[in-house]
């Protein structure tokens, strides 16, 4: 297999080739490692590449396959966002404060992938503690968009998106707190799924905002995303918020569909607030074209309203920073990671955190500490919880009328690296179309919808009700085939 073929390889095709004995995992891993290493200089998608570990796992997988074994992902290499614990590997969440930390345990998603036979290639770059939408807040330097060169890959799962979009990895895991899977997927021209809150275990994933975080697949195709979600979904006794809800075979979502009208009978809502001012005309054109394709495939589209959309960003940045401020309190230099020694322990906390955390982390921890403070709690945290309920009700009302919502992922395509870097508000506003799914807990997906005139990828977002992933995959698969 030549490099270009390897770069285009999907999970489904990899499994077919491995099962047919046309390729070995060792060959794939060696080829990918070469591409990864050579791309580090310009793309910088990875924080750590575990060449030795990946080759050892590949040899084990090949031996197991030779012995007649088969598993859902046996021998499939995957890239992991640097905020998930993989036993024996570093896990920095792209922060100085976790330098030197080696994970003593597997996150549940990692344990599930391991049991399914996946190979862990390395750890992808991200915004520090997943706080950002550009991957520029990483303590280890930015990642560049491999498709729209010179531009941001999006974030916070920018490393995973760049790895998959640039063909450095066959598939990857990302995490999404306010759009961190969908937005970089959109900017890098790949598929990214934020599952329903409670679908996938959060155990072992460095917490950003506990009530919003969810891990999901980042892949080249809808089928690949379904294959990965099949493996990582399901109840986990180690995560009390992970629900005991049956896991269907997501690859069956499009089975038996009418080839001409695969979306017949499906009603898709177009939230009018998502097509308002500030939406880039090229993005609007691509998304409207996707809606038109959905109609051509048999779906009915209706305009819906999410009246509290305008409150999404302030609500999100209060809920998220409040939880974050407590979640990041454990990074104090006592048990692991960076320690800046001082004579008394409280001073040591201050010095360690001052040196270990980057500016964006500090900004959000301060914000979160403020909104929880006595005297401000009711005005900020409590009020945000109430608005969060209103936003959830908006979505529930919309799903009473239609099966899915369709809209843009981001208001504009990827912008050049370095731009807006000192303008946090500008960055925060780019999450405006993605935070509602996290605040409401429902599932959503970003699907490639073509490119701008300059060749920048544009994504279309599908939002489904709680545990509505099957509908999401059915629609996405149909749209992808006619893309």
């Amino acid at each position: 297999m030549n490099t270009e073929e390897l770069k285009r390889l999907t999970v489904a095709e990899t499994l077919r080739l491995l099962r047919a004995g046309k390729v070995t995992s060792a060959e794939l891993v060696r080829g990918l490692l070469e591409i990864m290493e050579s791309s580090q200089q310009d793309i910088h998608a990875f924080v750590t590449i575990d060449a030795e570990g990946a080759l050892r796992q590949a040899a084990e997988c090949d031996a197991r396959r030779a012995a007649g074994e088969d598993l859902p992902l046996l021998g499939v290499p995957i890239a992991i966002k640097d905020n998930m614990n993989v036993i024996g590997q570093p896990c920095t969440a792209s922060s100085r404060i976790l330098e030197g930390y080696v994970a003593p345990y597997d996150a549940t998603v990692i344990a599930k992938l391991r049991a399914a036979g996946a190979i862990f290639l390395g750890r992808t770059n991200m915004d520090e503690f997943a706080l950002g939408s550009t991957t520029q807040t990483s303590a280890f330097g930015p990642t560049e968009n491999p498709v729209a060169r010179g531009c941001i890959p999006g974030g916070s799962s920018g490393g995973s998106a760049a790895a998959v979009g640039g063909g450095l990895a066959i598939c990857a895991l990302g995490s999404d707190t306010g759009g961190s899977i969908r937005q970089p997927a959109s900017h890098c021209g790949i598929v990214g799924v934020k599952p329903t809150y409670g679908r996938v275990s959060r155990y072992g994933v460095v917490a950003c905002a506990s009530s919003l975080d969810q891990v999901g697949p980042m892949t080249k195709t809808v089928e690949d995303a379904a294959l990965i979600l099949n493996v990582i979904s399901g109840r986990d006794p180690m995560d009390a918020t992970c629900l005991d809800e049956a896991v269907p075979d997501y690859t069956q979502a499009w089975a038996g569909a009418d080839p001409e009208k695969p979306l017949a009978g499906m009603r898709i809502g177009l939230p009018k607030e998502y097509f308002g001012e500030g939406l880039d005309p090229e993005v609007r054109a691509r998304v409207e074209a996707a809606a038109e394709r959905a109609r051509a495939l048999g779906a009915e589209t209706v305009e819906v309203s999410l009246p509290h959309s305008g409150y999404g960003i302030p609500t999100y940045y209060i809920c998220m920073t409040a939880e974050l401020s407590a979640n990041l309190a454990r990074f104090d230099g006592v048990r692991y990671g960076l320690r800046v020694p001082c004579d008394d322990v409280i001073a040591q906390y201050g010095a360690t955190r001052a040196e270990g955390f980057g500016a964006e982390v500090k900004r959000r921890v301060l914000l979160g500490t403020f909104v929880l403070s006595s005297g401000f709690y009711d005005a900020y945290y409590n009020r945000a919880q109430k608005v969060r309920t209103l936003i959830r009700r908006d979505l529930e009302a919309a799903f009473a009328r239609c099966d899915l919502l369709l809209g843009p992922v981001t208001p504009e395509p990827a912008w050049p690296l370095g731009v807006y870097q000192n303008d946090p508000i500008r960055n925060y506003l780019s999450d405006v179309l993605t935070v509602a799914a996290n605040l409401a807990g429902c599932c959503a997906l970003s699907l490639p919808a073509g490119k701008t005139g300059e060749g920048k990828p544009v994504g279309v977002q599908l939002i489904g009700p709680n545990f509505g992933e099957m509908a999401l995959f059915r629609a996405a698969h149909a749209l992808e085939c006619r893309g």
């Binding site: 998930m84 976790l98 155990y203 506990s210 918020t241 407590a326 322990v345 403070s373």
Partner: protein, 474 residues
Amino acid sequence: MEYEVVIGLETHVQLKTRTKMFCGCTLEFGAEPNTHVCPVCLGYPGALPSMNRKAIRYTVMAGLMLGCRIAPYAKFDRKNYFYPDSSKNYQITQLDYPLCLGGGVDIAGDDGSRRTIRINHIHLEEDVAKLTHRAGCSGVDYNRAGTPLMEIVSEPDLRSADEAIAYLTALREMMIYAGVSECNLEEGNMRSDVNVSIRPKGQEAYGTKVEIKNMNTFSGIHAALLFEIDRQKRVLEAGGTIRQETRRWDTEALETASMRSKENADDYRYFPEPDLMPIALTEAQIAEWAKDLPEAPGARRARMTEQYGIPEYDAGVLSADRALADFFEAAAQRCGNGKLASNWVMAEVLALTAKTGTALTESALRPEMLGDLLKLLEKKTINGPTAKALLPELFEKGGDPEAIVKERGLGQVSDSAAIEALVDAAIAANPKVVADYRAGKKAAAGFFVGQVMKASKGKASPQLVQEILARRLA
């Protein structure tokens, strides 16, 4: 001026679960430091708490025991503060929706009357790590981090140091009784924060309160309260004012000392714990758990007095220990004579446990065996000395008293003819003693009883022997 003392207690009671509150680590007192730890209780990146269901159940049982209302909705909160005893730098506790509300503990007040000390609420939280300070450094032992603790918060209803101890003693008895805690004071299973203030007698408004933190012995609490009450009186009488503050009991100097003023209250930035679901217990679930709940010791004392016709003193001794009370009741029901059972349990059985150092529950003696033994005594199948002689054997090895009596022929001889023969033989063999008796030395009768009992190998009915002797000697 005369002052009235006002005391309220916040008592942390360690639950008797096998594992920690939010992870699977086992609880072991005195283990090598940091050997019972995992990513969860060490606060590692990505680790999440998962609820120990038994801790919820035990807290609900404690609440039912104290007559609390069980909240239909309860939730956990994060209490944020930076300190090395907390691995996450926040503690998971319950702020405004605790598991149990209301309830009370009955005590004998200083004036002798029974009073109910009201409970405000019981909430569930995780314990912190143990810090040890050495020259130039401090050690953190996370074995204790994540131990489930109930915090039982009383209303300010206690009026003296003695009442505080009466309350704690009753509370401890109830928690042990309910089987939810060992309440081992040496192991710190029961630690109290004591709030105390004084006010001029007759004044409605409370005085300024002082909190004495983290006291784990009853004698220490008593001494600290006496000291603090006296200190506050002296301050007020000298025209001073009490500062609202946290003090600690100095066990060397035997005085309370200021730790920190409460004027700059800490801001713990509490908010709902997003990693745990709220708890919504159903009536059916609570009823199911209530089935395992023992009768409260006070209620049991009253019922046993009534039901078995035993003195209040006996009922008090028996009901103080749940296992002993269960044993007594089973034995009493088996033999049908409560007073007899109570006498035997309190005298003979407790003497055996003391003598052998074996707890009743560890011994081979089952209450049914004692009941059967006492039944044989009641029916006069055996006599008292035989029963007493058999008990140590049953205690050590167990067995069926009726079978043993039959097998060894220990049955009491109640056959008048046989006894008459023995009596006549004894009289015939001791003419001098007969003469003494007839001369007025009535105590000589005891000699003949002894002789006859000896000749019967202890099996003769002592009552019958006496009757026949009296007739023959007359």
